[in-house]
Amino acid sequence: MSFLAPAFLLAGLAIGLPVVFHLIRRSTRERKVFSSLMFLLPSPPRLSRRSRLEHLLLLLLRCIAVVLLATGFARPFLKHAFPEASNAAPVKRTLVLVDTSASMRRQGLWEKARGKAEALLAKASPLDQVALFTFDRQFKPLVTFEQWGATPPGDRLGLVRSRLASTQPGWASTHLDSALIQAAELLGETDKGTEALQKQVVVITDFQEGSQTRALQGHEWPKGVQILVERVLPASANNAGIQLVAGSTDTDYLSESAVRVRVTNASDSKREQFQAGWSGTNGTYIGKPIDLYVPAGQSRVVAIPAPSGNSPADRIVLRGDDEPFDNTVFVLPPQKSQTTILYVGNDSATESRQPLYFLQRAFQPTRSQAIQVTAQQTSTPLTGAAIAAAGLVIVTDLLDAQNAATLREAVSQGRTLLFAPATAAAFTGLGRILGLDGLRAEERRLEGYALMGEVDFRHPLFAPFADARYSDFTKIHFWKYRRIEEGALAGAEVLARFDNGDPAIVQVVLGKGRIIILASCWHPADSQLALSSKFVPLLYSLLDLGGAAVSPPRQYFVGDTVKLITTGAGETASTTTVALPDGTQVRLKPGETNFTQTLMPGIYSIPSALPPGRLAVNIEAAESRTAPLPADELDRLGVPAPQPVPVASTPADRAARLQSTELEAHQKLWRWFIVAALAVLGLETWLAGRTARRSAVPEELTA
């Protein structure tokens, strides 16, 4: 039997105490009454040599209890039960994180990082648990704990070297916070029995200013995890970067005549003079570049004249610093999206009291979008192509059966139809679309006016108005409307009601598409809707609902997910192919709409999309802020710094101690010793009580 805390065995010396107490008790048994103790001092208890020990059984039990307690506290365990397999128990769990962000592309930085990682892993003892991960915007494993454990100790360094050799820094930004948190959580998920291990995350990074650290603030770190930062410093600190001055949409920064870019100079840079200008794929300037003066730590926004329409220039290149990785920004010329609205009604576009008149004036062309309203009489047969080309179909008059069938087919496949009847009779046409022959509506002409009383702002149609500043619909008066029987429309959802409770706007889902029904049309004979400030936003909201008005962004950052939207029936073409800047073709799976492989900056083209599109992907501006962060930044953010480890033993000793700890924790023999001690003490109590009772009887008799 071995002991984990043998020092506690010294407590076994307390076995002498019961013996002494037995002797002392014997010497103090007699009692004498005396007149006064004012002249007496208490004498220390003396042992009489001639005293004989009494109650030997009691004494024995007490001694056994003391020995059992001392043994229990010494944490005994049986060594022979130790499994041989656990001889290789690990003693340290380390996760090495290597920064592969774009800023690591600076000269010599990656080689230094690789060297540090290899040196660090070479020091790991065979018992250590080690994993190697890289991070930029994503957290990616190179060697997991399982792979490390499964590799023979002699081959581990080779494995690490080969994985590192096949890795290069990417172009993404440095998400240091999410990487550290994920690494710490991975370390925190330890198996049973490894709680005592030293857990450490070693980050090999350039620790640049542009690293994201916001999420580290106030993060609750797993217990026992320490984070150590190993910095790598670049050979040269002279770095400047260029970025597009971006707004909320990709067209904001592109004016007709110039492109605005921001040139940022790192705070530790020694260069101040730069040049920026348009360039083609070969890297040479097209036209005359602009000279820039940007002091260290500052930035300048400059407008660079747009190239001529047939120029091959698709990028702006910055020159004058030592690090080229962030010196190119790819720019695509603005692309105007075309949207068609099919209006089916019998009114004239020139009649200023009819719905079409207001509709055409509502959709004015913008810089990014041109919307054309195509009017068609109800008597003219509708074609599938015309409907397919339209982002939104609006019907205001009675449809015949043929047209209704065509529209029904189109809506079922995902189109959006706005049904705004100018008369109650037009509802017959709606009934034809919906397949409800008996659908009727009652014409309600009000003496006064009705107001929009109840609006469902959770619906996408009204979501843009949800803000309290825009949610007031009470200024729109409705003079007359068509009363719709809710019960007649199966599955109808009322989006707005008049103040008398009748439905004002109803949505009916038909197949994949939907029909929005207005009880009252917008022209002045029906209501003030066309003249209100809500009319145009409501129509654009309808266009968005139909998926027609979305002008997809064309500027992305490295690592962004691109949602591919194609024209057609809202579905991705079955074989979408994306051409990467280096010429590689990436084929998306059928039905897949998200393109995630924006791994490098450049122009991506999607020839198979309808219409063929192009995307510009650039490095995030933060990557250009390459000046190092202060050394105490992580401390300030509350990241657990490594504590000095009390190392007083060799790895072999530590391993043995760890094994003992595990074994003892597994066996838990101390419990049995404590139970036995309690049992002995119980027996002792019973026996002592019995002895006391017996000895009390003769004294009473003698008294």
């Binding site: 007149s35 006064s36 007496l40 004498s43």
Partner: protein, 320 residues
Amino acid sequence: MSLTAPDSTARPSSLIDPKSLMSIRNLELRARVVVEGFWSGIHRSPHHGFSVEFTEYRQYAPGDDPRYLDWRVFARSDRYFIKRFEDETNLRCQLLVDRSRSMTFGSLSYTKADYAATLAATLAQFLYLQGDAVGLLTFDEQLRDFLPARHRTGQLRNIMLALEKPAEGRSTDVVAALRRVTETIRKRGLMVLISDFLAPLPDLQKHLLSLSACGHDIILFHVLDPEEATFSFPQSAMFEDVESGRTFFIDPAAARKEYLRRLESHCGNLRSICQHLGAAYIRMPTDRPLELALFDFVRGRMQLKHRVRRVLQHSGRSPS
């Protein structure tokens, strides 16, 4: 002033052994046995005045009462002399007896309380037979019985009854008894204090002083059990204080020397207080014959009288 007990080995054979005496159950009978045959003359009074017993002549000084002029001497010598006489009065004696629980200790067949009661009864009997007024005050931590000094039928009986009550008090408060006596007994007399004096002395000294200042004569009987005087217990034990109930372990062999030193120091302090006040201190181990106590008492009385007289003469004042 102190009177030491004669060696018990040299005790006259006529003396009654205390053990035998204490075996008599009736307290009054015990007292009578002791007093029997013991007779002394009348007490002299410190008060000079008109009496039958002539003391001395003194030359007349202006202001003296001419009634006391001895005309015969004037006729013979043609000088004025004043005749002085000794005043004979009855003694007023107040017995103050400690009945606290510490007095219940006794290593012999009787306790200190029994012995003290017998001593008090003996003194009372003796004085009563002389025709003196005797009173009694018993006390423990508070005052118990108080019988003012009187000489009348039944007084002695009442004293005996009070003394026969068991000692039940918890602690000793001599000071309270003395304060009461000082406050209530205005007439000068003899105060006999019988106690084991197992209490702090400083307060005792203060109140004895005020008692003495009132003109009372004081005799202290210090009653001690032989075991208390020698602390000759054979083996160690847990000793319990009979008054406070405190208990601790004491090894007599180790503690005896210190105990005796402290006890003697206590007794010495008590004795020096008495000397300072002019009181008589009589140490009475409970194995000492009571006749000797009576003898000491009478001797103490005589010495007190002489002391008073000396003091008065030394101050040049008339003892009236």
